[in-house]
Chain length 166, copies 2
DNA sequence: GGAGTGATACTCGGATATCTGGTGTCCGAGTTTTCGCGG
DNA sequence: CCGCGAAAACTCGGACACCAGATATCCGAGTATCACTCC
């Protein structure tokens, strides 16, 4: 089981975007450069965040991305599901209904016990992820990171963010 | 994120093997036929369970597989980790240390906040899986399954299990 | 000098190659059984 | 009838193809900016 690398990229980008002032935006190119990753590939994941309603995208020059709603209302689970999909990791293929001892399908009423256990475990995982908001994550970074990184990032943000036109 | 299909196979096989009497064994061929899956591919996963110390394998004619320890001492987590590996699903690549605002590596003391959150969520997932033992899963199947399936499986087991030689 | 208009530069978005890891298969090593033979 | 031995059959174990999904890239659609021209 492996989580898409894009989840990490998207989460880090979300924290950076959460640091924008007001309704300013930041272009994908800048986000890619900041994290040292491929720009074109990062755009793929940023679009997924837009589709999920986490980011808003503004086209054209002076365009870019910004949060679609307050950072306190965006959970880590939202980001993971936006990029990695909402499908459960475990997918029961009902192999209990195959083989020599199987009976007609309607006899298998409740879901397979293994499936139930796996899905409840995933529910615990999702609940844990939902306990972290973008705001809390950003606050954690702000308090633990090296002061030079913080000031450097703020300066870099000021240089790359695009003020809102409204 | 997707869990290997072999996890489902392994878990179902473990429940069947848990239903053997005493130290009897059952060959992989029979397990494959019972579940209607590829025999050669299933062997790959059964071997993983053997390597992990969950199953014991007996070679030669009248050989097969049996549990290496009591069913109450085998958790769903053991099976998942045996087949899918113990590596966490989320693997931090430290992209925070890349890009223009990065400083020397030793300045990044604690783990990345995102990584911490993801790993703690996975810990919750593992804990939930560890709460299900093979014994409890088998008991659940025994109480909820169709009576015809139960009797059919018992009959099938009696026909295919290999009594211990000791 | 100011307004209008066209070209321009920059942005995001979707379609297209490449590559790693899971999926599936085959053949070989090892062991117990079994049959045949000799005593 | 009993013991011995070799062949055989069946088991698991590791090495080899195949394929789907993630990874990575390029080109096209759209829009605010900017410069130029005309009034």
């Amino acid at each position: 089981m492996k989580l898409s690398e894009g989840v990490e990229w998207g989460a880090h980008c979300a924290i950076v975007v959460a640091g924008l002032t007001g309704r300013a935006t930041i272009p994908g190119k800048a986000l890619a450069e900041y994290h040292g990753v491929s720009e074109t590939y990062l755009l793929k994941h940023l679009k997924a965040l837009v589709t999920a309603g986490i980011f808003e995208s503004v086209p054209g020059p002076r365009g870019g991305y910004r949060l679609a709603r307050d950072a306190a209302e965006i959970t880590l689970l939202d980001i993971v599901e936006a990029i990695d999909g909402k499908q459960p990791a475990f997918r029961c293929t009902e192999i209990r209904q195959r083989g020599p001892t199987a009976v007609e399908a309607c006899a298998y009423r409740g879901p397979c016990g293994i499936n139930r256990a796996m899905l409840s475990a995933e529910a615990a995982w999702r609940q844990a992820l939902a306990g972290h908001t973008l705001a809390s994550l950003a606050a954690g970074v702000a308090t633990t990171a090296d002061p030079r990184v913080i000031s450097g990032t703020q300066e870099w943000l000021a240089r790359n963010e695009r003020k809102s036109i409204s």
